[in-house]
């Protein structure tokens, strides 16, 4: 292709190529989701008669209500994904809150109140980020047994908090070491103590990393299957386990539309969190605190 003499045309061509590539990539990633949504609104009759990939002829929410509150999962009395979903919410909120607060405090201490061996402490904590889930299954179940928390939501929360603190500490510590240390020095001279500095100076500056940590922890804990399946009993199973049990029940016909609706229900909260909090991701609150 001859090069356009007018630089603005060259620009438009480049843009067009760029957008084309972006649209293709976006479509590639969105297709499975679109397929799931479409299928969830079709009826089983229609799926049975036609093909798996097809535009719905009729539109119904039946599969959604089935997945939410009607489908029989295992041998339990309550039906649908709802009890599992509630379990997940009861588990994820305290887990995220506690692990984030602990991470913020750890990061604050490791950045501004260093003590003898604090670097070593941080390094040891970091090892936790590299521990695979499987490695802690046995010791953790033993520990939960001793604590009398086996199969309970509290035990599950404890497991997620302990496992998550390594990551949250890393996030906050790495964010705080880049905050100007003179801020803390100035606050100390102003007469502020450990907690006052944390709550009045440091925490208000932590919004960006707070959002990152919450999103990370929420996704990790909500999507977790292994801890959920190992450390829970039927009364405390999270939605990931419920979905698995629903999809994998071996009796009867495979209800694709219900499976799809169930999968979307199980994924919905993480999507919502991204949409709501994502815009706070990049926020330079500290801009202007140092230099001119």
């Amino acid at each position: 292709m001859a090069k356009s003499k007018n630089p603005s045309y060259a620009n438009i061509n480049a843009r067009a190529v760029l957008y084309a590539v972006l649209i293709i990539v976006a479509a590639y990633y969105l297709l499975p989701l679109i397929l799931m949504i479409v299928t969830s609104f079709r009826s089983m009759d229609e799926i049975r008669m036609g093909q798996l990939i097809e535009w719905p002829k009729t539109f119904s929410f039946d599969a959604w209500s089935m997945a939410w509150s009607e489908v029989q999962i295992g041998a339990r009395e309550e039906r649908g994904l709802r009890p599992y979903f509630i379990n997940s919410i009861l588990m994820v909120i305290p887990s995220v809150a506690i692990s984030t607060i602990l991470g913020a405090l750890n990061g604050y201490v490791l950045s501004f109140w260093k003590f003898r061996g604090s670097e070593l402490f941080f390094a040891a904590l970091l090892i936790g980020c590299f521990l695979p889930f499987q490695a802690i299954l046995l010791p953790q179940s033993q520990l939960l047994g001793w604590l009398g928390l086996s199969g309970s939501l509290v035990g599950l929360i404890l497991t997620h908090v302990v496992y998550g603190v390594s990551f949250t500490t890393l996030f906050f510590r790495n964010y705080y070491v880049n905050l100007p240390h003179e801020l803390v020095k100035a606050a100390k001279l102003d007469g502020a103590g450990f907690w006052v500095i944390f709550f009045r100076i440091i925490l208000p500056l932590s919004a960006p990393i707070l959002v990152v940590t919450v999103i990370w922890q929420f996704t990790q804990i909500w999507n977790d299957f292994l801890f959920g399946v190992v450390f829970s009993d039927p009364s405390s199973q999270p939605v990931t386990v419920g979905l698995n049990n629903m999809v994998n029940s071996s009796t009867g016909e495979k209800q694709y539309n219900v499976d799809m609706a169930g999968a979307i229900i199980a994924a919905l909260p993480t999507i919502v969190v991204y949409v709501v909090a994502g815009k706070y991701f990049v926020r330079g609150l500290t801009a202007g605190s140092v230099k001119g």
Partner: protein, 369 residues
């Protein structure tokens, strides 16, 4: 306000010794400047005074109280940081009030105090802005306002002007001096800028390698430096150091210099140094550029002034004066002459060496003779 006494303070980080026995007595209302090259320990000393760093041994006394082991908040000290360290999440008013709130001052008094400080520093229109909405000079003022608000015993300044551009820095320097004259507060001020030190200080402590090299008034430090380091550090352009041999004249001593192949004897004022034990040996002559000038007829006959022709290697006009780089004893020597008298590069020029303020140093120890 109070006196500050620093008594034999040592500070080490493991094997690294940052402060090696610092002792300073600061009287009430004095403006003290700690000056030195980077890594000389001046900022560490300031942090030790503030309590942000613990001293390894030694004592720090504020007034009559030994504050060595007290927490920063109990010392009643305010500090202005190089980065200003304004709390980015608070507006200017909150920034100034923060320390007062922490100290549980009643709300009405806080408002009064903020108003007083804002008026003093002329930052009233800025009170509701966030630090990010301020220019460098305005942030600097707010940082000072925050320090002034508590009326602490002493103020510490850690290179407060070094983030400002050159013009603003000079303005703020004057302003700071005015402020000190008006408030009469005790100030310890760290800078690496010797001009700032000369212009602001009541007394200067020149530091190097964790040791105070000299502690004296700006004029003392300038005219009567304790060693070669102080002599070279203070003053711009810096003092010329010429290695030369000491000779015995009829009754006094002289140092011998060579310029363009001719030998000259520069007489040594006995008030400046006793060189009797150095005859025939080499010493370092310290002579400031302004002591080497163009020929002024009324000075030629003076006792300690010698006329020497030199070869001009480089000329640097500064506007008020022109600096001339000459070669003496095969060493570079900077001289300050009137712009109209300055010759051209490569030419020879007659200069007057005024030895009445010359100082001498030992070649090995670099100590003052």
């Amino acid at each position: 306000m109070a006196e500050l006494k620093i008594d034999n303070v040592y500070k080490s980080f493991g094997e690294e010794h940052i402060l090696k026995g610092i002792s300073l007595d600061v009287t009430d209302g004095e403006f003290i400047i700690l000056v030195g090259p980077s890594g000389c320990g001046k900022s560490t000393l300031l942090n030790c005074i503030a309590g942000l760093e613990d001293v390894t041994t030694g004592d720090i006394l504020l007034g009559d109280t030994n504050v060595t082991y007290e927490a920063p908040k109990d010392r009643d000290i305010a500090m202005v940081f190089q980065s200003y360290a304004l709390y980015p999440n608070m507006n200017v008013r909150k920034n100034i009030a923060f320390g007062l709130e922490i100290r549980k001052m009643p709300k009405a008094e806080i408002a009064e105090e903020v108003a007083r400080v804002a008026k003093l520093l002329q930052i009233e229109p800025l009170l509701d802005r966030k630090p990010s909405q301020l220019s460098g000079g305005q942030r600097q003022r707010v940082a000072m306002g925050r320090a002034l608000a508590r009326r602490p015993k002493i103020y510490l300044f850690d290179e407060p002007l070094s983030n400002l551009d050159a013009k603003l820095r000079v303005e703020m320097r004057t302003e700071m001096k005015k402020l000190h004259q008006r408030l009469g507060t005790t100030i310890v001020y760290v800078t690496h800028d010797q001009i700032e030190a000369m212009t602001l200080a009541d007394r200067i402590a020149v530091m190097k390698g964790g040791i105070v090299q000299q502690f004296g008034t700006p004029q003392e430090v300038y005219d009567d430096p304790a060693n070669m380091f102080v002599a070279g550090f203070m003053g711009s352009p810096s003092m010329n150091f010429l290695r030369c041999e000491v000779t015995k004249q009829e009754k006094d001593y002289a140092v011998q210099i060579e310029s363009q192949g001719t030998i000259f004897q520069l007489p040594v004022d006995p008030k400046q140094a006793d060189l009797s034990s150095y005859v025939g040996k080499t010493v370092v002559l310290g002579i400031r550029p302004e002591q080497i000038t163009h020929v002024m007829p009324h000075l030629v006959a003076e006792q300690y002034i010698t006329q020497v022709p030199v070869k001009i290697e480089v000329t640097e006009p500064t506007g008020a004066d022109t600096l001339i780089l000459a070669r003496i004893n095969d060493q570079e020597c900077e001289c300050r002459v009137h712009p109209q008298e300055a010759g051209k590069v490569g030419e020879s020029m007659e200069l007057l060496f005024n030895m009445s303020k010359a100082v001498f140093f030992d070649e090995q120890t670099e100590a003052r003779l």
